[in-house]
């Protein structure tokens, strides 16, 4: 039988992590379904488990000098209770649309990032928030921009001895976030495509900073630098007209059971326009 560790401190957890190949478990909402699926076809996982849910201090959203620090045990519901500013509206919208209430109450944002599914709803939002991840090992900590952390389809730069301990989000004053998710039913649905964005306006009501990202349209969710540049200096009222097909050239959507690639490409554009059109004017 495989071992189950549930340490009560981060140091202990990191020591276990350093010593053995363990499956890290937080909310379990990704890892347990994956185990169920394997077991059903006669391939039950035998890896030891490191349950980090009892480690104190990791389930807080803190305000720092430069922004926010979201502990790795913060759940989707926890995020919604944190009283975050409009910058986080997109991420909070995602938190309301992930799975159902049960999954929102247990699943963590950090787990969503480590799973690194192309359809992870947290990912485009945190890309648009220019988030960084804080990785800890027994040897120390390192901080990576989220875009560098995500290295491919369900692949990350997380080392075998590391834990993701927090997500850092820099301040962007006066900014507004937004999120559009497209699925084939209302609840409990994995996104066919999704768009997330953050915009900040200058004194004249023109876009000073725009950061936009699309999910489920490539192996890893992506920012759209060309579109972001094109939006700079544009008023919100005009913003929805800016996104064009060429802005999505860097994407590589696929055909799968949920949708065709051609549809995803087109729908992504619609979602981006809708997202911009729906941004509240301050």
């Amino acid at each position: 039988m495989s071992a189950y560790h549930r340490p009560a401190s981060l140091d202990q957890a990191l020591a276990i992590r350093a010593g053995a190949d363990v499956a890290v478990l937080a909310g379990g909402t990704d890892i347990i379904p994956a185990r169920t699926a394997r077991a059903a076809w006669g391939d039950p996982p035998r890896q030891d488990v490191l349950d980090i849910s009892a480690i104190p201090g990791l389930n807080r959203v803190e305000t720092t000098e430069t922004g926010w620090r979201i502990g790795c045990l913060v759940t989707w519901s926890g995020l919604l209770r944190a009283g975050l500013p409009p910058l986080f509206d997109g991420l909070c919208q995602a938190a309301r649309e992930v799975g159902g209430a049960q999954v929102q109450n247990r699943g963590t944002l950090a787990g969503n990032l480590v799973t690194a599914s192309p359809a992870g709803d947290g990912i485009p939002n945190l890309l648009a928030l220019a988030a960084k991840v804080e990785l800890a090992s027994a040897e120390g900590r390192r901080i990576l921009p989220l875009a560098h952390f995500l290295t491919g389809y369900r692949a990350t730069a997380l080392r075998r001895d590391e834990l993701l301990v927090a997500v850092q989000v820099p301040r962007l004053d006066g900014a507004q976030g937004g999120f559009r998710k497209l699925g084939a039913r209302r609840y409990l649905v994995i996104s066919i495509a999704m768009a997330a964005g953050v915009v900040a306006l200058d004194g004249q009501g023109r876009i000073r900073t725009a950061r936009l990202a699309l999910g489920a349209c490539s192996a890893v969710a992506q920012r759209l630098p060309a579109l972001e540049a094109a939006l700079r200096g544009v008023t919100l009222a005009e913003a929805a007209q800016v996104p064009q097909a060429a802005h999505l050239d860097g994407l590589a959507p696929i055909d799968d059971i949920r949708a065709s690639a051609a549809y995803r490409r087109d729908a992504a554009l619609v979602l981006l326009r809708d997202l911009l059109a729906g941004m509240p004017t301050p």
Binding site: I32, R185, R186, Y187, Y263
Partner: protein, 899 residues
């Protein structure tokens, strides 16, 4: 193992757990709290919802270790704020008919409790958000949402039971509801004998392959199992199947598998040993073969033949020919249509146990089923024993919809229990249930329809290949039923219908609410819209002009002498239809992107088996102890037959319903009521229940020498008959016993499909209002108005429940459901409607009494599903101008059609 302490339902508890075992498993298997259900063990169904520190969570996703120090509440909670809210919710669920099969109810109740703890007066949207993570396949959610809102307003008083003679027509709460709502109902996985061994099936990962087995005994020892059973261990005939002449499916495959998920080996042992075992450790050598996927591949001239009895892989072709020459037509329409596999997605995976009799012959099987007597027959044949030696005790059935008509676990359990000489239990995983049990047949249809200048239909032709998968199951029934219904409930003088069932290497397709008729209706109703468009007629109008009614002749040459309420259904919808069209026009005038559309469709559905005897028999006993017991063999799979049959029987006898006790569906105690399918229980068993009640009444009246309309009253053992006579039951020599039987009058169909296949038909029409986002191709169904001729609504609450549930399944068929073997074998990727997907539903009941039926009643179960999908497609077309030829209408499909 580790010891944990927590607060469970208000009380401090300590117990030992496997830290990684799901909390749901610890509650159920470790602590005996089986009120928490498991439908998927993957977070997808919410049946396992409990409260952890006051917040709802899927107990299947919580490692038991995480319960340490937590406060946990389950449906068994009685005390405190949670207990008080649960009491209110239970009463409201009962009164609103919000629990049908009840397998989702504990999860729904806990999710609702979570909500009401946070928000004492939630609006509809908040209720949907709170319940969005719990799937229900039976109710269509509307009644659940209603119930939660009602509960938020306080405790509803318990409903009154109707007095003698007033049960039929009373919207009473289901009689078996309380247990479904307090967690005490026993579903297949909820009980097992002490010391039962566990069974796990090793299944083929290939759609088509040969295999050889190595040394099973060596493997058994190495893996620490009690047994590894193969085809060679089946004591009787290693074959099962629905039709007497078509037992084509092996219990355990013999050297050759024909679909992914086919059972190969039965592994018996401790739960831990089975859970740890890898299929790769078993001595099975595979030789994969090319697989025939889809009917086109199976019908190709060079396709290998999958069964010796089916050249060309053709299982059967059903036909209907009517009329020699078609009347002249002014317009003709042609279409083609494709549907995919649809999964029943009952929330309860197959589960149960078998107990062998010590004599080495007898066997008792406790399992979820829709057909106990058929299970008995299959199990006996597989064991090689007489049927009487097998007893089937149906568990509560957590949803069936046709999927639990076929034997699944029963033969496997019986074989294992016989070989081991010990009780053996099994619970299918969700993936196993989806991969190995039957589906709705995919259909590839071409059809043509013509009308004269006034819009009267002149001819209809239909050809379809139904993919019956690797084994026959109900393929013959589909091929026989479809030609009779394909043309739709319209007067058509000339028809040429063909429906073929084709073997492939796909998952076996069997019975699913409608037996092929919903697929055919998609093509036919689209043709009706085409003809209306060509003639410039309103879509309601063309249907009304052609609607079959009393005195008309069906496509199989049967005259409808009574209970043919389609014209009345359409008339009932007329005002709704006009209002809907006006709403659409007003909205679309300035809404280029979000378009509304209105759609309409009709249906008919023969109640009972097609041209086959399908009797039902009931028994009623008034004991010398004054106890009145109905022995009812009909399995209530959530649709409510236990309640409906009791209502009918009570009025026939003339005693009040609350004096009845019940012995239900047990092949050792009740007579064969036939299977719960084909919308037959209310009609066929209902009539048997009526005959039974009448028979006992006649006995009593004779005994008392009383007149026909003498009122009965029972108090203790004193039975008063009329005003003057009193019988003291205790003084009688024997209990008063009566039986009733009914077999609907049908005749065989001739080679042209002519005859009287059914004694009566259900009729319905529905209209749908949808909103289509033209840019994204998404569809939201906003409203469905359903008119249905049910003959007589014996219990209006239960009738509404069937209609709502059918509509939700029809919506799934239209917009999201598609089973792809190997790819959507879970409820994560196979999407069924959630609480947020079901529209407002308005029901207009039409009661055109059926003289054959009990108090005029006929079947309601399947009809509601049939018109929904075609009405939605009709509405999408109205909104967009696009005619669709395939379901489900996934966003990308509609988007492509719109390009």
């Amino acid at each position: 193992m580790m010891e944990i302490a927590c607060i469970l339902n208000g009380a401090p508890r300590r117990f030992r757990v496997d830290p990684m075992a799901p909390l749901s498993d610890t509650l159920r298997e470790g602590l005996g709290l089986t009120g928490t259900k498991e439908g998927c063990n993957a977070g997808d169904c919410g049946a396992c919802t409990v409260l952890i520190d006051g917040a709802q969570a899927c107990a299947c996703l919580v490692p038991s270790a995480q319960a340490a120090g937590a406060e946990i509440a389950t449906v068994e909670a009685r005390d405190g704020a949670v207990g008080a809210l649960l009491a209110r919710l239970r009463a409201a669920f009962l009164a609103h008919g919000a629990a049908q099969c009840g397998i989702c109810s504990p999860g729904m109740l806990m999710a609702a409790t979570d909500l009401l703890l946070r928000d004492p007066a939630p609006d509809r949207a908040a209720v949907q958000d709170a319940l969005g993570g719990v799937l229900c396949r039976c109710t269509g959610y509307v009644k659940i949402l209603d119930a939660v809102q009602a509960a938020s307003r306080g405790l509803l008083p318990a409903g009154e039971m109707p007095p003698a003679g007033a049960a039929v027509g009373a919207p009473i709460a289901r009689l078996d509801g309380a247990a479904k709502l307090d967690g005490t109902e026993r579903f297949g996985a909820d009980e097992a004998p002490e010391g039962a061994l566990w069974l796990r099936i090793m299944r083929s990962p290939h759609a088509h392959a040969r295999f050889t087995l190595g040394d099973l005994e060596a493997a058994r020892q190495r893996l620490g199992l009690a047994a590894i059973l193969s085809a060679a261990d089946v004591p009787g005939s290693n074959a099962f199947g629905i039709m007497p002449h078509l037992k084509d499916q092996p219990v355990l495959a013999e050297a050759h598998v024909r679909f992914r998920g086919e059972a190969v080996l039965a592994l018996v042992g401790s739960r831990a040993a089975l859970a740890a075992l890898r299929d790769a450790d078993l001595p099975v050598a595979w030789e994969p073969l090319p697989a025939l996927q889809g009917t086109a591949a199976a019908r190709a001239p060079d396709a290998p033949q999958l069964h010796p009895h089916a050249p060309g892989n053709l299982l059967i072709e059903g036909r209907l020919n009517r009329g020699t020459e078609a009347p002249p037509a002014a317009v003709t329409a042609e279409t083609h249509f494709r549907t995919g596999f649809v999964e029943h997605a009952y929330i309860e995976p197959e589960a149960g146990y078998a107990v062998p009799a010590p004599d080495g012959a007898g066997m008792e099987v406790f399992a979820c089923t829709q057909a106990p007597y058929m299970d008995r027959e299959e199990t006996a044949r597989v064991l090689g024993v007489a049927e009487e030696l097998v007893r089937i005790r149906p568990s509560a059935c957590g949803g069936g919809f046709g999927g639990k008509l076929d034997a699944s676990i029963q033969p496997l359990l019986a074989v294992a229990a016989r070989r081991l000489g010990r009780p053996v239990r099994i619970t299918y995983s969700r993936a196993e249930s989806m991969a190995s049990t039957t589906k709705r047949h995919p259909a590839a249809i071409t059809a043509r329809m013509a009308a004269d200048a006034e819009g009267h239909f002149t001819s209809y032709a239909f050809e379809a290949d139904f993919n019956t998968g690797a084994y026959a199951s109900w393929g013959t029934t589909v091929a026989n039923r479809v030609p009779v219904h394909a043309g739709g409930p319209y007067r058509i003088p000339h028809l040429r219908n063909r429906a073929r069932a084709i073997y492939t290497n796909d998952t076996p397709a069997g019975a699913f609410r409608g037996f092929g008729v919903p697929q055919a209706a998609l093509a036919t109703e689209s043709l009706v819209d085409d003809l209306a468009a060509k003639l410039g007629l309103d879509r309601w109008e063309i249907r009304r002009r052609n609607a079959i009614g009393r005195g008309d002749t069906t496509h199989s040459g049967q005259v409808l002498h009574a209970s043919a309420g389609l014209p009345a259904c359409l008339d009932a919808l007329k005002p709704d239809w006009e209002a809907m069209l006006a709403e659409v026009a007003a909205h679309n005038a300035d809404a280029p992107r979000l378009r509304l559309g209105a759609g309409i469709a009709c249906m008919w559905y023969g109640c009972g088996n097609t041209s086959m005897s399908n009797p039902s028999r009931m028994k009623l006993v008034l004991g010398r102890d004054g106890r009145l017991t109905l022995f009812n063999g009909a399995v209530d799979i959530g649709q409510g037959s236990t309640t409906v049959l009791a209502q009918i029987c009570a009025d026939a006898l003339g005693l009040p319903l609350d004096q009845f006790r019940f012995v239900l569906g047990d092949t050792a105690l009740t007579h064969d009521a036939g299977k719960t399918s084909a919308s037959r229980q209310t009609f066929v068993s209902g009539r048997a229940a009526m005959e039974t009640g009448l028979a006992l009444r006649r006995r009593i009246l004779a005994l008392a020498n009383a007149g026909e309309d003498a009122a009965l009253a029972l108090e203790g053992t004193r039975l008063s008959v009329g005003a003057a006579r009193v019988i003291d039951l205790a003084t009688l020599d024997a209990d008063l016993e009566a039986e009733g039987r009914y077999d609907p009058p049908t005749t065989a169909l001739d080679e042209n499909g002519q005859g009287t296949p059914y004694a009566t038909y259900g009729f319905a029409a529905q209209i749908a209002l949808v909103a289509v986002d033209r840019a994204l191709g998404t569809v939201k169904v906003r409203r469905i108005v359903a008119a249905q001729d049910v003959g007589r609504a014996v219990n209006p609450t239960l009738v509404l429940g069937q209609i709502h549930g059918g509509i939700a399944q029809g919506l799934g068929l239209a917009l999201m459901e598609e089973f792809l073997p190997g790819r959507t074998e879970n409820l994560h990727d196979y999407l069924i409607p959630t609480a947020g997907d079901v529209p407002e539903i308005v029901v207009r009941l039409v009661e055109d009494p059926e003289p054959e039926g009990p108090y005029g009643a006929k079947g309601v179960g399947e009809p509601a599903l049939v018109p929904t999908a075609p009405a939605i497609l009709s509405a999408i077309r109205h909104a967009t101008g696009v005619t669709l030829h395939e379901v489900p209408v996934l966003p990308h499909r509609l988007w492509e059609a719109l390009r």
